[in-house]
Symmetry: C2
Subunit: 251 residues, 2 copies
């Protein structure tokens, strides 16, 4: 377990890999984890294949404080995440009776064996309960298994967020200007070298026909970030451009 | 090298992992590769850290026909993809003179050392040239290094697409209905078992307040897919719902 918390995300989804669906969970989890001081350090998008899920879960849970998965916990034949996570931990699936009771109330006569599969949790796991569905997400050790449907994934994340160990909040500020990255590259290198504890990133953009760039400073020390942003803004002015500096973003 | 071509994508981007930017390249590459019969089998989103890029490139290039990367080939200090890919292949970077000449024409007096870095290619690599920029993408063996800016990534992909070995085109059709996944799960399992060569996926959706699901059949045999979709539509009608069947999508 690393000293500062960090997270990985496994998106289990043939529909993302086929291009049929635009992923809508990466950005939400990245932002939500960042607010808790738990940087998202890696995302893997993999297909609904048991061995690949087992490998990804076991690789990532050994090197990250937290691993989240999205997708594959519904009632159909292609929903194999719970079984794969159980296999990753070397435990059997067990039907979770409190979830069965909750689902009985919700589904009534429509509760069938396919739906009951959603109450099967790896032995030793805890359900992640929400108001969004009667079927639970799953927590086992440092692995959190969330639904793929974005609204339900969010509800499940919100349900577990208070239990996560937080790190130092990552603060960020950015400056934008209508100039090419190459014009300011040398100045950015100098500023980055002067402030190794600030993560300085440069991201070009095209808005309509105008090119420009966003320079983002991230770190845990507010005064360091302010100093870096002031230096970048000064470098932009030296090049004869107007910097537009954002207000402080406490990520 | 697998007998049927398959691809992996490495998204190199702190800005995706921080949640600041919504990825816009995964879906484009997934769809474009699918049209060529080259399924995208895995995506990794990793930070701008040399060792992580080297590891991901070397792991994925040994098991996939093609590996694409996006991001990190600009002129600033955080653009380290070319150097990391060179390291992955154990070769030095070399300045590519034809690219230098092209950039001289484009940038004129604004060509500086930072921008010239974009003409440094791993030894033995070929430039990926486009009309979108004077700075090239990079091909080395089965690895294609594309820009992160979506419009440039697309131009670079279009430039290399004709050279890729195509597989059998993946065809897909889908049916949608306003019912719960659990209602039709048993029928889908039966149909999947009867047609093991068709990949049958079930994806719930929420449109406004109405729930529903899309059932997608994918494969390389049109008549198999048609049969599967007919069976799914019949199962939906048996449950008292109206299926809306799409027109044939030749992916």
């Amino acid at each position: 377990m690393p000293s500062e918390p960090k997270a990985a995300l496994i998106v289990i989804g043939n529909e993302i890999l086929s291009g049929r669906t635009q992923d809508a969970n990466i950005q939400f989890l990245a932002t939500s984890l960042g607010k808790l001081g738990i940087p998202l350090c890696e995302v893997r998008v993999i297909p609904d294949i048991e061995d690949e899920i087992v490998d990804a879960v076991n690789t990532l849970r050994s090197i990250h404080s937290y691993v989240f998965t999205t997708g594959g916990i519904g009632p159909t034949h292609d929903d194999i995440t719970a079984a794969a996570v159980a296999k990753a931990f070397g435990v059997p699936l067990e039907r979770h009776q409190p979830s069965v009771e909750k689902m009985k109330k919700f589904y009534s006569a429509r509760l069938n064996e396919a739906r009951l599969k959603m109450a099967d949790l790896p032995k030793g796991a805890e359900p992640i309960e929400t108001r969004a569905t009667s079927a639970p997400g799953i927590q086992i050790e440092n692995v959190f298994v969330l639904a793929g449907v974005p609204s339900i994934a969010r509800a499940m994340f919100d349900s577990v967020a208070p239990s996560l160990t937080r790190g130092a909040p990552v603060l960020s500020r950015f400056v934008e200007a209508h100039l090419g990255e190459g014009d300011i590259a040398d100045a950015l290198t100098t500023i980055q070298n002067e402030h190794p504890h600030v993560d300085l990133g440069s991201y070009p953009f095209f808005r309509g026909k105008r090119i420009g760039l966003s320079v983002v400073a991230k770190g845990t020390d507010k005064s360091d970030i302010d100093t870096v942003i002031d230096k970048v803004a000064a470098a932009i002015r030296d090049l004869g451009h107007d910097p537009s500096v954002d207000v402080q973003l406490d990520n």
